[in-house]
Symmetry: C2
């Protein structure tokens, strides 16, 4: 029935990278327990998902008062998921600052197959030491750029080329605030694709309902590693929905090697065992995506806006205009106070103003 199935052309392989047990952790304040990790990891393994990523939402070493204490230690999470996997590879995520060289050694000691090092989109230099360490240890290492809508395609391509020099065996971009539309993704992936010879990665969020479409745009522009989570379980409005993306890719002529029925089973297990409710796009999710603000700011914005009696939507749009980045949480207070004083923003805003 579809006009798009490319049955006669050779099927392009796409490697699906599944951070359900890492990005999804954001949605449950990092409180997944052993049985939950084990149940989902085993189900993903049975479906032949190539890589499962596990950890605190902010990655190795991030469990803390500031980022939220995880229920389990990094060691416990790695151990449980390592034991649950047979053919699926074990991946971890790390943001330098939260994670350290010690975290890398820990991951290596648990026989992790793949480590992802993430940095802000213009700060790939921060990944040099960790990528070098992983290259020396012979462990597959990805370098990924967060909040990537804040940099031009050319700049992202340069940063990715640098990540490859540091030793990354795959590089790419995260749409951390769910801001992209498909054409934004195409341009950026194409620029990166032409700058590097390693596999290119795309990781979407669904704030504007575009996570699946953006991932397809990424594949069409040459990305060969796509991130997706069961039921979209992830920060804010959620990630690209895994069990939707996979059959859509297959229908378009890509080859994921994944068993659809078992993938649907895994998603059902995730829905039942991991999440109070699957992610949906609420009004704050829409505004956060439009404004291009880091999803992690949500609760702080809501708290501060309520206290100061200002519209949290105005706070998001102003933070977007100021190009606030993760780590600049202090700006939230400044913006709310300025809005209360009437020195910026406006309470009425038509859709054409965004």
């Amino acid at each position: 029935m579809s006009q798009q199935a490319a049955e006669s052309s050779p099927r392009q392989p796409i490697l699906i990278h599944d951070p359900t047990l890492r990005d999804g952790h954001h949605a449950v304040r990092h409180q997944l327990g052993r049985d939950q990790l084990r149940a989902y990891a085993a189900a993903a393994d049975a479906a032949r998902v190539p890589v499962v990523e596990v950890g605190h939402g902010n990655g190795l070493g991030a469990s803390s008062l500031q980022a939220g204490r995880a229920l389990l230690s990094d060691e416990a999470m790695l151990s449980v998921v390592r034991d649950a996997l047979t053919t699926t590879k074990l991946g971890v995520f790390m943001l330098p600052g939260w994670g350290t060289t010690e975290s890398i050694r820990l991951a290596v000691s648990y026989d992790v197959d793949l480590v992802r090092i993430g940095t802000h989109c213009t700060e790939s230099d921060l990944a040099e030491r960790h990528l070098g360490l992983l290259r020396d240890a012979g462990v597959d290492a990805h370098g990924v750029l967060l909040m990537s809508h804040m940099a031009s395609p050319e700049r992202l391509a340069e940063e990715c080329a640098r990540l490859v020099e540091f030793g990354a065996t795959g590089v790419g971009i995260l749409d951390s605030s769910g801001h992209y539309l498909p054409q934004d993704v195409s341009t950026r992936i194409a620029a990166i694709r032409s700058a590097v010879s390693v596999p290119v990665i795309f990781h979407g969020h669904n704030n504007l309902g575009m996570a699946v479409a953006n991932s397809i745009a990424a594949a069409e522009a040459g990305a060969t590693i796509l991130d997706a989570c069961a039921r979209g379980f992830g920060a804010g409005a959620g990630n690209t929905q895994l069990e939707v993306l996979v059959p859509v890719l297959e229908r378009l002529g890509y080859d994921t090697g994944i068993d659809l029925y078992r993938l649907l089973d895994a998603a059902d297990i995730a829905a039942r065992e991991l999440m109070p409710a699957p992610p949906t796009i609420d009004s704050i999710g829409v505004v956060s995506g439009l404004a291009g603000v880091f999803s992690g700011f949500k609760n702080r914005v809501l708290d501060v806006a309520a206290r100061e009696g200002v519209d949290p939507r105005d706070v998001f749009f102003e933070l977007g205009r100021l190009q606030a980045v993760a780590g600049q949480e202090d700006l939230i207070e400044d913006v709310a106070l300025a809005l209360r004083a009437g020195s910026t923003g406006q309470r009425e805003r038509t859709a054409s103003h965004v």
Copy 2:
């Protein structure tokens, strides 16, 4: 930040048609009450949504044992929503068979601004009498084709041209099973666009996570009337999410005339007052969309599959292969029995087989 904003080019107008109080009725077994209808209609009116459609999920005259009894009569629904609207137009939906010429007279007596007549995608002839009646009454009338993925672009264009001959002032297609990917929509809308001179309509469902992307593809191919519901409230995996589509359209340079903040307020009211939970894409939703099966079959398939001890996913794929259409519910039994007897389908299915 987006590469796509077309700020310098003239903004193309898009008319948003909002069936939250009609398609959403499917999700709550047609049980919305007066206060609920009033609250949402007033909020949509305040946001300057151009048209609000109200009624039983299957439209005028459909309240019945077979299609489900609505809490309110057609008269009560029309009366409450008519009173709640100031500038927003009042729309109704009708499927010939459920609705009759009497239903049209009723709608006209309640001063309805717009009547939509829906038929299966190859049966536009069934709308002739009703569209003629509306033309004679001077009421704006749309003709829309259900389950439109089952017909070729050329056939849909012919059927739409016929609807225009009958008197339709707008024509288009419903993706009733949520089967389309953007390229499928582009081809069909372009074919219809070149066959008629009235506005072209697209109505999406989100089974494959593509409702917003498909609606954008429709606009880019020349559709100027797009359907969308608050939080996607609608049958099965839900419709295109209204408060996501509108700002995405605006960002791409289209003009909806809608107030974003008040639209987000209306969506929040819908989430709080109308729905037990916003629609999400569950595994059956994915399978139903992939198979191209009418969403209304869902509960019957689940019941019959459980009784016969077969996999409901196999039943969906087999119904899709048989091109079952709404009204052919008997096929569900036949397929389940055949699967139990082992004479069709298979229990293991990789993603590449869909």
